[in-house]
């Protein structure tokens, strides 16, 4: 692995029955990312449980309760690398609380592998996973048709499953989908092509993971720069230094560019782009930098710099898709806190337009929201937010809701 290696974050969706753990285990094993002491520990535990083969799910089941009960209760992150890329896998359990965990893991993913069992084809849960992937806006989808060895490596069966899946995905407006036939157990089409799928001309899973374009900047909104921290050293050397620190969430910026500070609407020009490693002429998403401006204007954390020809919305009211994460249901009479980019404000829910049944995708009227519910809601915020729709910019279209009484994160939202 060289310093030019890139980073890809992906998640896997599917149940244990679909061979998810086997798939992850094999990716790790075949890329030599399982260490001997880990392998010996899970081998011992597998044997203790009377299993004939090594149970790779033990690698990701990190907590005592999980190992004791053989369940997975949370998102675990796994790391592996090939000479071409470094990977972070968000591994989500496949049963209850699934929506909450998958939405959490999906929120930082560039790619999702949706597993189906070739014998069973597209199931309700396949649709649910796909809907959640589209809701959270994961740029790339891989349909992994697993257990091809159980259907005699039938091309017809693969084609049939793909056709049904693509038809469903098209309804959700999803276009970037790669279908791969594979057998995680045998190892066909994961890292090696194997000898059983000669009719398949496409890529192996690993090759796809290593070569797919990582869109740091899929957003079409232009420059977005939420101010995180105002740097005022107040030392002799840097007496007048006033750097607005943050991470470029979308687009790029160059010295001399005119910017508008929102929500105030004041304008200035970029004087310098400052980093620890020296000043830059131009910077891109997702770099963390500090900007200094030509004019002294009042700016604080929570403000956003944009370019004048690419304005986001500034409003106190909007609609959003909401995933309720808390065991305590939404109470429409209460005020909550919203954290959006670097701004936190009081908010309330003025209405629930509908709740989505994640299995059928039907919309239902709803008076309350419970854990794992997904709904379209109307919200009011005490201060104006500077935002884009989530589909155009994940960073400026996403938010979390916090219950002030418990300080828990109770919902995740995507602005419509």
């Amino acid at each position: 692995m060289s310093n030019a290696t890139q980073l890809l974050r992906f998640i896997t969706a599917g149940s244990v029955d679909d061979g998810k753990s086997t798939l992850i285990g094999r990716l790790l094993h075949d890329s030599k990312s399982i260490f001997e002491d880990q392998f010996s520990a899970i081998s011992k535990t597998s044997a203790k449980r009377g299993m004939a083969t090594v149970d790779f799910s033990l690698l990701t089941d990190g907590l005592q309760a999980e190992r004791e009960q053989g369940i997975t209760i949370d998102v675990a992150y796994r790391y592996f690398a090939t000479p071409r890329r470094k990977f972070i896998i968000g591994d989500t359990p496949g049963h209850e609380q699934y929506t909450r965990n998958m939405v959490t893991a999906a929120s930082t993913a560039n790619l999702v592998i949706i597993l189906v069992d070739a014998r069973k084809g597209v199931l309700v849960q396949t649709r649910r996973h796909t809907y959640l992937a589209s809701l959270v806006g994961i740029p790339h989808i891989v349909l992994a048709v697993n257990k091809m060895d159980m259907v005699d490596y039938s091309e017809a069966r693969f084609t049939e499953i793909c056709a049904e899946y693509l038809k469903f995905a098209a309804q959700l407006g999803l276009t970037d989908i790669t279908c791969i036939p594979l057998s995680a157990l045998v190892g066909d089409m994961l890292v090696e092509r194997g000898d059983n799928l000669d009719w398949y001309q496409g890529t192996t899973l690993m090759n796809l993971l290593e070569s797919i374009v990582i869109d740091y900047d899929v957003n079409t909104t232009g420059f977005r720069y939420p101010v995180q921290w105002v740097c005022r050293p107040q030392t002799e050397e840097h007496h007048d230094f006033r750097g607005f620190m943050g991470r470029i969430e979308a687009g790029e910026i160059a010295v001399g560019d005119e910017i508008t500070v929102l929500p105030s609407g004041r304008t200035s020009r970029v004087k310098e782009i400052v980093t620890y490693d020296g000043k830059l002429q131009r910077a891109y998403a997702p770099q963390s930098v500090a900007l200094t401006l030509k004019d002294e204007i009042d700016i604080s954390r929570g403000d956003m710099f944009v370019r004048n020809d690419e304005l986001p919305k500034v409003a106190k009211e909007f609609e959003a898709m909401l995933c309720w994460l808390s065991e305590t249901p939404l109470d429409q009479n209460r005020k909550y806190l919203i954290k959006h980019t670097t701004r936190t404000a009081k908010c309330l829910f003025s209405g629930i337009a509908y709740r989505v049944d994640v299995n059928t995708l039907e919309q239902h009227a709803a008076a309350a929201l419970n854990m794992n519910d997904i709904a379209r809601v109307a919200m009011k915020v005490q201060q104006p937010l500077v935002f884009d729709s989530y589909t155009t910019d994940r960073a400026t279209g996403s938010f979390i809701v916090i219950d002030e009484a418990t300080n828990n994160t109770v919902a995740a939202g995507m602005i419509a």
Binding site: R67, T275, A395
Partner: protein
Amino acid sequence: MELAEKERMTAHTFTHLDALESESIHIMREVAAECKNPALLFSGGKDSIVMLRLAEKAFRPARFPFPLVHIDTEHNFPEVIAFRDKRAAELGERLIVRSLENSIRKGTVVLKSATQSRNVFQSVTLLETIAEFSFDACMGGARRDEEKSRAKERIFSFRDEFGQWDPKNQRPELWDIYNTRVHAGENIRVFPISNWTEMDIWQYIERERLEIPDIYFAHERDVIQRPGGIMPVSELVQPQSGEKVVRKTVRFRTVGDITCTCPVESNAKNALEIIAETAITRITERGATRMDDQTSDASMELRKKEGYF
């Protein structure tokens, strides 16, 4: 054109180290902006040395908006303690050291023997230090690839007023919008390098030309071969009857309490050679070097529930 600029312009590729670095800077700035009284835990070990460079990247030309804190077991490697003090002085940052000895004197830590591993008791002194300074957030250099229970821990990991971690009741963490809110008396442990691996750390040390304590590089040392690994001979670790002291060329992959940190045999004399070794090693970092993690499958998780960072 300055060098940094030239590199960006010609490549315009954002490497995995760039991505990790930018994420860590973003996390540290969120802590500075949202927490009332944060601290950065600095031990002089390689991960916390990387943390300091990231803090420089996040906050220079200003000083860090938090002090450095070290919980000293007084069973640390002297080279590492010397390095700790030197680095803090070079940076011109405030270093707070609190010793486990204080907790022993106060009676809040009771040891079974003088040579017992003190790692587990760091939690007590850490919690006492958090209370003394009313820290509401402590940034630490733990990584998710280190250990199974760490793999499940949030970047912003909430602890109750007893400093305890409840793995089954963690706050959901979405996108990179972090919930930093705590009630009085509670605090948050923040792990800005959660997503880094051992390899990333070494590549970053190499890229940034970071100075680290010499004991990370191959050197000759008297050691004792024990079932769990090779133990460095020190005042605290002496050969038992039947054990033989041998001189070996070793380096430390991790640096912790001297009574439970084992070196590995190695000839790697610089970061590049360590990267080459790390690329082909077949044993995990903690598996090879930490006696305290080998006691049970869940030892780290149990310590974290007690307030360990």
